[in-house]
């Protein structure tokens, strides 16, 4: 039996009948919770509000009922945080130009709707691994562990700017210039520490 994941699945699909899909019943024991949304905007609102949770989004690609399509939702999620893995789950045929939209939107993976649950579970596991192992997610988790007061106090200075931990968290999530720079810095530092250790041995 797979180890339970500390994870919230946000499933956005306007085909209501998918709410009853077997994969949901199948994985309900593997994750903390599964949130189903028929409307992309509502799913997005949930992600925004619960951004501090470990979230994997499963996203339908073609929405019949709305002008908003999968690639728009990808973009919106990216603007909230690039650290939320999005698995596209679609019945549409994906040609080069559609695949291109997914890559551009940083989709984590794409699972066709005629796949078995195992394929979906594998994709969720991979996404969860990324949340666990991605240096940016690790930094995010570390900041989230600090108490609220500490997170609002100036933490570091870079050039003329002073940043609180929350500023850093935000930058890492959005991967703006400072966010990228910080990530690179931490990675270099970690590598440095790791190799120092090797030398001492």
């Amino acid at each position: 039996m797979d180890k339970k994941m500390n994870l919230t699945i946000v499933y956005i699909d306007d085909d209501k009948k998918m709410q009853e899909d077997a994969f949901i019943d199948d994985i309900s024991d593997m994750v903390d919770e599964i949130q189903y949304y028929e409307k992309p905007a509502e799913g997005l609102a949930y992600v925004k509000k619960n951004i501090d949770k470990n979230i994997v989004v499963i996203l339908d690609w073609k929405f019949n009922s709305s002008t908003i399509q999968g690639d728009d939702v990808l973009k919106d999620i990216d603007e909230v945080s690039v650290l939320v893995p999005v698995i596209v789950f679609t019945g549409a045929s994906i040609d080069a130009s559609e695949a291109n939209k997914m890559f551009k939107g940083n989709a984590f993976s794409c699972v066709p709707k005629d796949s078995d649950t195992t394929a979906l579970v594998n994709a969720i596991h991979n996404a969860y691994d990324r949340i666990q192992n991605d240096i940016r997610s690790v930094m995010e988790k570390w900041i989230l562990k600090q108490d609220a007061e500490k997170r609002n106090k100036p933490y570091m200075r870079s050039g003329d700017m002073v940043y609180t931990l929350n500023d850093i968290l935000n930058s890492i999530r959005k991967q703006d210039e400072f966010g990228k720079e910080t990530t690179r810095g931490i990675l270099s530092l970690a590598t440095e520490l790791f190799t120092n250790n090797m030398r001492e041995k």
Partner: protein
């Protein structure tokens, strides 16, 4: 004219290269000619003259002369490039020298060897601008064949390092004086290998017409002219791009500057009563533009090869393509639909043109259209109001072409029908006149009177023929309408096939995962409730699949042909036979009233299936109602058959009114609704130009009423 000191130049080559390039790559003489002309194109020539002299029968005088006004060669070019086989300076550079920047057409530097295919002897004269001499070179290819034979006899194993593999063949070289301003190259090929029949020249013409690419920017034209004194049809004939020549419609809109008013005026197209008129108006905010559009019907499209594709409207700035993405892409999907031409197709399937039907370009200039700017990534234009206005302009012009195509046919038909009718009336007129003449006995001799009788009788026969023809014509029109109907059904089937594959994929996935669930948990003896739920789900989904299949089958079955059937009979059959049992079982009071009975030419089964879908929906919607009612009324309104279909269920909430005709949309998933029914109804009605709309409910206080309109003359 010959220079006093002719010298000798040598070709450097080995036998295998010669064989490969000269014989194997250039498989026939048309290709050979094609390659030579490509060389002219790559040398930035704007004009190529090809003279075929004394082609049939062959004589001392027989010649093919290819003369261009391209860049020409220096002595060094001849010695180091032309004379060294297998080199290709073209391969290193993908475009010809600026400002032409043509995408190089010639391949692998084999063009010069194409000459071998055409004739045994070549005199080449070439000159660059600025130089005062023509460089002239005479090559006798027959000598190469001799050398080839000699080399082929060499023992390769024993002579591995023997440089004799490379040969020294004498080529006479000399110079001739020329005007400094002139440039170009002349290839005069004699000792021709083959007789050229007229059909060979025609083939050459057709092949060469492909070089003149429709998207070639107009600033640097490339014209090929044939001179064939023996075949008059091709003498002094400009080779036109067949592709453009075969366009079904073409328009080139220009602009002009009015010096008096100091204003620019723009030409534009406007459809009016079945014709397309070029009009003029003040320029819009994007500035004056040139707009060239070609439209191709199926016949026109046949002239296109894979390379010469019809691919929509491009934008050229000062003659150069404005955005790199519009250049050749191997996959259509990679091409950007700059003006959103194809996007519109979703809103109307039949009348909209797509990028596969039209080809053209918008010519803008830096000076006159400063606000049409490339975005920084060169993938698009900056999204400003000028660009938006230009998009609107282009789309509106395409729309005028669409209107024209649509109306032209109708007007023409009407006109013809009118003419036939008039012919009948004219004949009546003449008959009257003959009658009047006959009445004037004083003026008419008995002979003339007899003649008049004969004329009158012949007129009667003609009139009968005309009226028979008119009937034939009407019958033909009717046949044609039916054929069109079938075609529309097929097109809607095509659209449906795309949707159905989507449905199948989703259904199969649902079944697969439910089955996986059942298989997994039942064997573990866990999640029993859920396993039962998913077993049911498999069953329901299978039913959905069956429905989708049946719908597809109803198209595929033999009885899907059109037939005439009475509306009243058909509706009666539905209510009294097909659904009678269901109505009884569900306690539904079903009533129908057919006020006017008509014959409809349609697929009867498809017609009944539409009602079947509506009835199914109503039955599901009314499942929790007490007093269940369904009502269907049919009547005629102008040239339309109108059917109102109502139930007194809970009705359709406002917020989903717009969605009910969408595929997959269902509010009765729990009852096995697949969201297909109304979609199918709408698709089928659209196929016969009918409509279905949701109307205010007939039954009060709640209920749903659908109105179906089918044109009786469709």
């Amino acid at each position: 004219m010959e220079n006093n000191s002719p010298s000798i130049l040598h070709f450097k080559f080995d036998v295998s290269t010669f064989r490969l390039l000269g014989r194997e790559l250039i498989t026939d003489r048309i290709t050979a000619l094609f390659e030579l002309v490509k060389n002219c194109y790559d040398a930035n020539a704007e004009k190529v003259d090809i003279t075929f002299d004394s082609l049939n029968p062959l004589s001392e005088k027989s010649r093919i002369i290819i003369r261009d006004d391209g860049l020409g060669m220096t002595f060094e070019d001849i010695r180091d490039k032309w004379m060294v086989i297998g080199t290709s300076s073209k391969r290193r550079k993908k475009t010809s020298p600026a400002p032409y920047n043509r995408v190089v057409a010639g391949k692998k530097g084999v063009g010069r060897f194409a000459v071998d295919k055409l004739g045994g002897k070549l005199v080449m004269k070439t000159k660059k601008k600025g130089s005062s001499v023509w460089h002239c070179l005479e090559t006798d290819w027959t000598k190469y064949s001799e050398e080839e034979d000699r080399q082929l006899k060499l023992d390769f194993e024993e002579n591995q390092v023997e440089q004799k593999l490379f040969t020294d063949i004498d080529n006479k070289y000399w110079t001739e004086p020329g005007e400094t301003e002139v440039q170009g190259t002349v290839l005069e090929i004699s000792s021709l290998n083959d007789v050229w029949l007229e059909r060979d020249v025609i083939r050459a013409y057709r092949e060469l017409s492909k070089i003149v690419r429709p998207t070639l920017n107009v600033k640097y034209p490339f014209n090929i002219k044939f001179h064939v004194p023996e075949y008059k049809a091709y003498d002094d004939k400009l080779v036109e791009s067949l592709v453009l020549a075969k366009a079904t419609l073409s328009y080139a809109l220009k602009y002009r500057f009015d010096t008096g008013e100091q204003k620019y005026y723009q030409e534009y197209l406007e459809e009016s009563k079945g014709s397309l008129v070029v009009k003029e108006k003040e320029t819009e905010i994007f500035g004056p533009i040139g707009f060239t559009i070609y439209y191709y019907d199926q016949e026109g499209k046949k002239n296109f090869t894979k390379e010469d594709r019809i691919d929509g409207i491009k934008v050229y700035r000062d003659g150069i393509i404005a955005t790199p993405f519009a250049e050749y892409k191997s996959s259509r999907d990679e091409q950007k639909d700059l003006f959103g031409i194809d996007k519109r197709r979703w809103s109307g399937f039949f009348e909209k043109l797509s990028t596969r039907d039209i080809l053209g370009w918008v010519d803008i200039t830096d000076e006159l259209n400063p606000n049409i700017k490339d975005s920084t990534n060169r993938q698009d234009f900056v999204d400003n109001k000028e660009w938006n206005a230009l998009q609107v302009f282009v789309i509106s012009q395409i729309h005028q072409v669409e209107l024209y195509l649509k109306h032209k046919k109708d007007y023409k038909k009407k006109e013809n029908a009118e003419k036939l009718k008039n012919a009948g009336n004219d004949l009546d007129d003449i008959k009257q006149k003959v009658k009047r003449l006959k009445g004037q006995t004083l003026l008419i001799s008995p002979e003339v009177d007899n003649e008049l009788d004969e004329i009158a009788s012949k007129l009667e026969t003609i009139k009968q023929n005309v009226s028979a023809s008119t009937k034939d014509y009407e019958r033909m029109e009717e046949d044609k309408r039916q054929q069109e109907n079938i075609m529309f059904s097929l097109v809607s089937l095509q659209a449906y096939a795309g949707q159905i594959s989507h449905i199948l994929r989703i259904s199969i996935g649902i079944i697969k995962r439910s089955a996986e669930f059942v298989a997994k948990w039942v064997s573990l003896g866990q999640k029993q409730d859920k396993s039962i739920k998913h077993a049911h789900r498999i069953f329901e989904e299978m039913n959905n699949l069956s429905k989708a299949m049946n719908f597809m089958l109803s198209y595929a079955e033999d009885d899907s042909t059109f037939e005439f059937f009475g509306i009243k009979d058909s509706i009666t059959e539905l209510f009294e036979d097909r659904y009678h049992y269901l109505f009884e079982e569900e306690n539904i009071k079903a009533e129908y009233a057919v006020e006017d009975d008509f014959e409809l030419s349609y697929n009867k089964k498809a017609f009944q299936d539409m009602f079947g879908n509506l009835i199914d929906n109503s039955v599901k919607a009314m499942r929790n109602c007490q007093d269940k009612r369904i009502k269907c009324s049919v009547y005629r309104e102008n040239d339309n058959l109108v059917m109102l279909f109502s139930d007194n269920g809970p009705g359709i909430p406002d917020e989903i009114r717009d969605r009910i005709f969408d595929v997959f949309y269902t509010t009765t998933a729990d009852l096995g609704g697949a969201g297909l029914g109304l979609y199918i109804v709408r698709t089928r009605l659209n196929a016969i130009k009918g409509t279905i709309t949701l109307e205010p409910n007939e039954f009060k206080p709640t209920g749903a009423t659908f109105k179906i309109v089918i044109p009786l003359i469709h």
